[in-house]
């Protein structure tokens, strides 16, 4: 029998606020254990939470960006469970009346495009961190406790692991464009749980699902879904039944395994948190948030094509990340040459970032300096080949491209006398090739150009070399 995979994702996105969701503690990642703490996130008696305004704004922005209905009135609820890294004994979340509901995310895969519907987006707080692997006890770090999260829940609309991964990447792109999260999966600022089931192709009822946790990369999300669907099919084909449960993905063994016995019955006994008052999103706030929405990748790519005349493929690559698109536009502003700016950013810049594992904001060459370099090429001051050398040197210091060209003596030689002299030497030294050329082997022209460029260390103006060489070969 042929089976179809059915996947729905629950994504937790950590917001990059300065302070936590309900107290003023720093929300930054990677601080020394138990230093970003206060009476509220330590759950000391009498401490009261107050919601961070930016969390509401970020939730509204993500809701608008995904076509959600924004609830004018929403409330915060307590989700009750016991775990040592949750000092209050409940997580502040939303249950009834989430801030955003019923949205849509458009995703593209090699197999085509797809609209994935969203059930809801709600505000919640993160728990702390438990460290189990030292000694005989568990160690608790409360730093992450109370860090704001948005939970984005999709409908079970995805049918392949690729679609699930494309959905997640799209979501990551949107939160990064909005500037509300760094979207880093390895550091856990984007976390994903997958609900997976299978059913015979053509069936309308869903099969029993399992929930997979602990996938910390796009690749692992794909692998875990594929593994789990295969496991479901094997169980069903073998006459067994799927047990609804939570399973952990093991990225080393490339398998999911049951958390059986490690979780108690889920009964969170949600109720409205009496410490927090309702959140009202009024017209003024909706208007402000709409105004603050950035230009989204598809719109920006379309504008790059129509305004700058670069190919749609290039526009797509340049707009994958907002910072890269900003870098390209800033380069273009200085260079005035869209095609060259796009070629440099997509070529040398992206290659260097990949080789050195850098993010664009860590890159040593500012767009102003790169734009300056392109201007030097277009003005005929240096050749493309020399420009690549200058590009390498520019990564090592802060000097302008002009200063580097000057300092390293890399300026292009257009002096006809010097070029003529060098070509003469080459022709004298390569009599055999010269005869072959003159008896009709025209492709040797390139050989002479190469020899001349080599002799002049790439600094000769190629156009001048071509002209002089042509006339001298004729002679």
């Amino acid at each position: 029998m042929n089976y179809e995979i059915v996947v729905g994702l629950e994504v937790h996105c950590q917001l990059n606020t300065e302070s936590k969701a309900f107290c003023g503690c720093s929300a930054k990642f990677g601080k020394s254990a138990n230093t970003n703490v206060c009476p509220v996130c330590l759950a000391l008696p009498g401490a009261l939470p107050v919601l961070n305004a930016r969390v509401v704004e970020d939730a509204v922005k993500l809701g608008l960006a995904t076509g959600c209905t924004i609830a004018r009135h929403s409330i915060l609820a307590r989700k009750n469970y016991f775990y040592p890294d949750l000092p209050k004994g409940y997580q502040i979340s939303q249950y009834e009346e989430p801030i955003c509901s019923e949205g849509m995310l458009h995703v593209e895969t090699d197999e085509g495009s797809k609209d994935v519907r969203l059930v809801r987006i709600h505000i919640e707080e993160d728990a702390g961190k438990s460290i189990h692997d030292i000694g005989d006890d568990t160690y608790i770090d409360v730093n992450r406790c109370g860090v704001p999260l948005l939970e984005i829940v999709s409908y079970p609309d995805m049918r392949t692991s690729k679609e699930a991964s494309a959905y997640l990447q799209k979501l990551r792109q949107i939160v990064k464009y909005l500037g509300i999260s760094d979207g880093n999966m390895e550091e856990g600022s984007l976390r994903c749980d997958a609900n997976v089931s299978v059913r015979p192709v053509g069936a309308t009822e869903y099969g029993t699902r399992t929930e997979i946790k602990n996938m910390n990369s796009f690749r692992n999300v794909e692998r875990a879904i594929e593994y789990e669907a295969k496991r479901h099919i094997e169980v069903i084909e073998g006459g067994g039944v799927i047990v609804q449960e939570t399973r952990l993905w093991d990225a080393d063994k490339l398998e999911t395994r049951s958390m059986r016995g490690k979780e108690h019955a889920h009964d969170y006994r949600y109720f409205p948190d009496p410490d927090l008052v309702p959140v009202l999103v009024d017209d003024g706030m909706m208007h402000r948030m709409r105004e603050e929405l950035p230009e989204f990748p598809e719109d920006r790519a379309a504008r790059f094509v129509s305004e700058f005349g670069i190919p749609a493929y290039d526009a797509g690559v340049l707009t994958v990340e907002r910072e890269l698109a900003d870098y390209f536009e800033a380069t273009l502003n200085v260079s005035g040459d869209a095609k060259a700016s796009s070629n440099w950013v997509m070529g040398e810049v992206m290659r260097t970032l990949k080789e050195k594992y850098l993010d664009i904001h860590e890159f040593a060459i500012s767009p102003e300096r790169l734009g300056g370099l392109i201007k030097l090429i277009n003005a005929g001051a240096i050749s493309n080949t020399i420009a690549k050398q200058v590009f390498e040197l520019m990564q090592e210091d802060e000097a302008t491209p002009e200063a580097i060209v000057e300092r390293e003596g890399l300026a292009q030689v257009s002096d006809t006398g010097a070029i003529e002299a060098s070509i003469k030497e080459i022709l004298d030294a390569n009599q055999k090739q010269l005869e072959q050329y003159r008896s009709g082997k025209a492709q040797l022209f390139g050989f002479f150009v190469g020899q001349c460029m080599q002799k002049m260390k790439g600094k000769a103006n190629p156009k001048v070399v071509n002209d002089i060489l042509k006339s001298m070969l004729e002679g």
Binding site: A33, N34, P39, L42, A53, P84, D137
Partner: protein, 95 residues
């Protein structure tokens, strides 16, 4: 509405409380007394009344996103029953 002894045992487990059999009986009867007392409210006609999520009439009590971390690690750990280095220490959660 009333609760059974089984309900009480279940709630006790969720709350990580241990009761003897006699205590469970007592809890069941006391909880039922409370529930029956509250049931009096059912006599009120609530047709068309929005559910109340809070007794305050305030809305949007929000604070600006400004960082202020008031406690040091030593202060945070001062009342901890058990600690080590910079951490709270609890019995092993998973083995």
């Amino acid at each position: 509405m009333s609760v059974t002894k089984e309900n009480v045992a279940y709630i006790a487990e969720l709350a990580r409380l241990k009761f003897t059999d006699a205590e469970q009986e007592k809890m069941t009867s006391e909880l039922n007394m409370i529930l029956h007392y509250i049931e009096k409210l059912n006599e009120v006609d609530t047709e068309g009344v929005e559910p109340l999520s809070t007794i305050h009439d305030q809305i949007n009590v929000l604070r600006a996103d400004v960082e202020h971390t008031p406690l040091s690690n030593e202060e945070a750990l001062r009342n901890a029953p058990d600690k080590q280095d910079r951490f709270f220490k609890v019995p092993k959660v998973i083995g």
